[in-house]
């Protein structure tokens, strides 16, 4: 099963995926939870900043930019 999981930062633009595991800790984790990012949340990669990082994601209808460091701690399953 684990093979289907990729890091959110590797999610191709325009694709959606479902959050499967959140490995961030402390304040970063709480921030993501506040934004509604929990197991099962559907996330879409929308667009990248001019230098390629951060990336904007559609999380529950809001557009949230995450740096690749954060996005690599979120494992998702491609839809």
């Amino acid at each position: 099963m684990k093979e289907n999981l990729i890091e959110l930062k590797n999610l191709p633009l325009g694709r959606t995926a479902k959050v499967k595991h959140l490995s961030s800790i402390g304040a970063a984790r709480r921030r993501l939870l506040d934004l509604g990012l929990i197991n099962g949340t559907v996330v879409e990669a929308m667009h990248k900043s001019p230098s390629g990082d951060p990336t904007a994601y559609n999380i529950r209808g809001a557009v949230i930019a995450l740096r690749s460091e954060e996005a690599s701690k979120i494992l998702v399953e491609l839809n």
């Binding site: 001019p50 529950r60 209808g61 930019a65």
Partner: protein
């Protein structure tokens, strides 16, 4: 975000007033909500111009409040910081929670974004856990309708158990219903039956393990179920607040301490550690939000944010993102420079005309010459100078910048630039605090509160002064027009000075990044913290409101401060220039003393003295320079750029002097207001001194290198 009313408005001075329940009769209404939901529009629409700023007891954070009347009752609306949650993850969330929790507002209005209701319900549900006296305001309903999102407020209200009102604060739609609902809740005419969130069995049991002891300690003054849950979650800041506001010292209560230990053990035994507990609490709230929204919200069109995507695909694209940003900046500068000239002359004619009348009156009254000198040639003329040079650029720059802010563009700037800040080990939101610095560095420093990590907040605070504030723009504009634009002619001159001003700002940004990096590697070591930035939907700006608010809140305020400083400065300089010791004025003595140092940096003693005397406000640096050059020690009447150029050049200025003054203006100690704000925000003398020293050192180094390199190469 950006130059908010709060950040550049009169709130900077609001340090004395306190909302005191006993002295002001009225119902206290808390206004909370996620960031970017139009909370301030609701606030402005309800209170109009009847706004105040002040601190509420116990904390030293300025909170904006305003008053309104409804059905002959007074209401005091308190604007608390916009947050995603009340779980106290940041200083702002703590403030928001403490207000809702401990100030006992008669009602709490939670403003939500109709286009993204599900996420917003998180805050609503968390608020309902604390208090039932809640009114939910579903704002931006027009935008939701345009995006074919239908919200059934009746159903929402049934589920949440509190009134739900759809509004569009910009067009005042729904505001009457909102004030009516608030009235009914605050006066107790409607009893809310708030939704009670239940967690899974294990957590519920753990809550019950400590709840009796919590009830015992708090004596019904606060919702004990909620406090129990927060204690289980290990919310240390709540313990502090309970102690501070209600005098409950929970760690000292041995029964409660034991019960808490037991409850935690119970959770651990059932496989729930601290992180998992938080996850389960949040997940539960989110799943309730999801469920409620499935019921009450329907989407007519799944691709509802297509337009925003298209705009973003240009404004943040690899090819156009940065160039469009620079072009926008340059266009704003160009409009400011080109547009300010003519009104500046008109104002000068008007104000100096008044001076002539005043002089006539003085003469007809036989007032001694020195009194006329001090009051008119010293004080009034300086004031007139500052007003005619500063007012027009501000009255153009502020509304234009507010327009960008209102459109929702500023977060895109932060998004575009974030990678640079990451490489400098700084926070991406620093780009936003820098934008606030364009208006006023003191506002930028206060804005640094949006950065959660203390290390990155300090970096943003110390480097904020590298963004030229509004007080320095006129100096930079004038000098770039004279010494850089002056080399070209006519229309191309204002183009050249626009470009050079843009270059100065870019240099400021570069220096910010370099200094941030150096700070991160030396006295503020550390790695970049987590970063999640919301890019709110683009919104149609309200041009009328922008003009009114940017004139009222920003232009008048900044101008008032400059005038308040310029008038006494004019007074002092006139005296310094006219009191002679050994045949030479005090001004010349001091400037002579500073001259070798000034020369070393490509400037002269008068210029250095002007920067020192300009500590209260940067606006008066150039006027002091001019005044000092006049043999009489008073300003000449301002009649245009050409005259200014003539005075400077005849006092030995070269293009190198102009460039060095511009550099030093960009990089020197922050003004007194900013320093005072830094002291207040960091609560540390050490960091205030560092904020003074770092930019000054940078300016000295830069000017020294430029001046001596130019001399060495024979360019000057």
């Amino acid at each position: 975000m950006g130059l908010t009313n709060q950040s550049t408005g009169s709130s900077l001075l609001g340090n004395g007033t306190i909302i005191d329940r006993t002295s002001c009769s009225g119902f206290i209404i808390a206004l909370s909500g996620n960031p970017n939901v139009g909370k301030s529009t609701v606030f402005n629409s309800l209170t109009g111009l009847n706004q105040h700023t002040g601190n509420w007891p116990g904390k030293t954070v300025a909170t904006c409040y305003g008053k309104y009347k409804y059905k002959n009752k007074n209401f005091i609306l308190v604007d608390i910081p916009g947050t995603y949650s009340l779980m106290a993850n940041s200083a702002e969330e703590e403030i928001a929670r403490d207000f809702v929790c401990f100030e006992n507002p008669d009602a709490t209005v939670v403003v939500t974004d109709a286009t993204c209701l599900e996420r917003n319900l998180n805050l609503v549900l968390q608020t309902l856990e604390i208090t039932g006296k809640v009114v939910v305001c579903v704002n931006l309903i027009d935008e939701a309708e345009r995006k074919k999102i239908h919200i059934d407020c009746k159903k929402l209200s049934d589920r949440l158990g509190v009134p739900v009102i759809a509004t569009n604060a910009r067009s005042k739609r729904g505001l009457d219903e909102l004030t009516d609902a608030v009235y009914n809740i605050a006066l107790g005419f409607v009893r809310a039956n708030p939704l009670q969130i239940t967690y899974d069995e294990t957590i519920e049991q753990a809550i019950e393990l400590i709840r009796p002891a919590v009830r015992e300690v708090t004596g019904g003054k606060i919702n004990d179920r909620w406090v129990s849950l927060r204690l289980l979650d290990g919310d240390a800041s709540l313990l502090e607040s309970l102690n501070k506001f209600l005098g409950f010292n929970i760690p000292d209560n041995s029964i409660l301490r034991q019960d808490l230990k037991k409850a935690r053990q119970f959770l651990e035994q059932n496989g729930i550690n601290a992180d998992q507990l938080r996850d389960r609490i949040v997940s539960r709230i989110i799943s309730i939000s999801e469920e409620i929204c499935r019921d009450a919200v329907s989407f007519g069109n799944k691709q509802y944010n297509d337009t925003d995507r298209k705009i973003d695909s240009i404004l943040t694209s690899k090819i156009f993102g940065i160039p469009v940003m620079l072009a926008l900046l340059a266009v704003i500068f160009w409009l400011t420079i080109a547009g300010a000239n003519y009104p500046s002359e008109l104002l000068a004619n008007l104000l100096f005309g008044i001076e002539d009348r005043l002089t006539d009156i003085f003469i007809s009254l036989n007032v001694p010459g020195w009194i006329h000198g001090v009051l008119i040639t010293g004080t009034y003329r300086t004031l007139a100078w500052v007003v005619s040079v500063m007012l027009p650029p501000m009255a153009i720059f502020f509304p234009l910048f507010t327009l960008l802010e209102d459109l929702g563009y500023l977060p895109r700037v932060a998004f575009n630039l974030d990678n640079f800040f990451k490489k400098a080990c700084a926070h991406g939101k620093q780009a936003l605090t820098m934008c606030m610095g364009f208006g006023c560095n003191a506002a930028g420093v206060i804005g640094c509160r949006i950065i959660d990590s203390p290390r990155e907040r300090l970096i943003a605070t110390i480097t904020n002064t590298f963004v030229p504030c509004n007080g320095r723009f006129p100096t930079l504009i004038a000098l770039s027009a004279i010494f850089i634009g002056g080399m070209a002619n006519g229309a191309s001159g204002s183009l050249v000075s626009t470009l050079s001003l843009t270059a100065v700002v870019l240099l400021g940004i570069t220096i910010t990044l370099v200094v941030s990096k150096i700070l991160s590697k030396t006295i503020l070591k550390g790695l970049p913290s987590s970063f999640a930035l919301e890019l709110p939907p683009y919104r149609k700006p309200q041009v009328g409101r922008i003009i009114v608010r940017s004139i009222l809140d920003r232009t008048i305020f900044v101008l008032g401060r400059a005038a308040a400083v310029a008038a006494p400065a004019g007074f002092i300089i006139w005296i310094m220039a006219n009191v002679r010791v050994g045949g030479v004025s005090i001004l010349a003595h001091t400037a002579g003393f500073l001259d070798p140092f000034g020369k070393l940096l490509g400037m002269d003693g008068y210029i250095i003295l002007a920067f020192i005397l300009g500590l209260p406000a940067n606006e008066i640096v150039l006027p002091i320079i001019i005044m000092s050059y006049m043999a009489s020690g008073s300003l000449i009447e301002y009649s245009g750029m050409e005259q200014l150029r003539h005075i400077l050049v005849s006092n030995g200025w070269t293009p190198l002097t102009g460039i060095c003054v511009m550099l030093f203006s960009l990089m020197h100690f922050p003004c007194a207001t900013t320093l005072w704000t830094i002291r207040k925000e960091t609560r540390s003398m050490k960091w205030t001194l560092i904020s003074f020293a770092v930019p000054t050192a940078a300016g000295i180094i830069a000017c020294f290198i430029i001046a001596n390199a130019a001399r060495f190469l024979g360019l000057a």
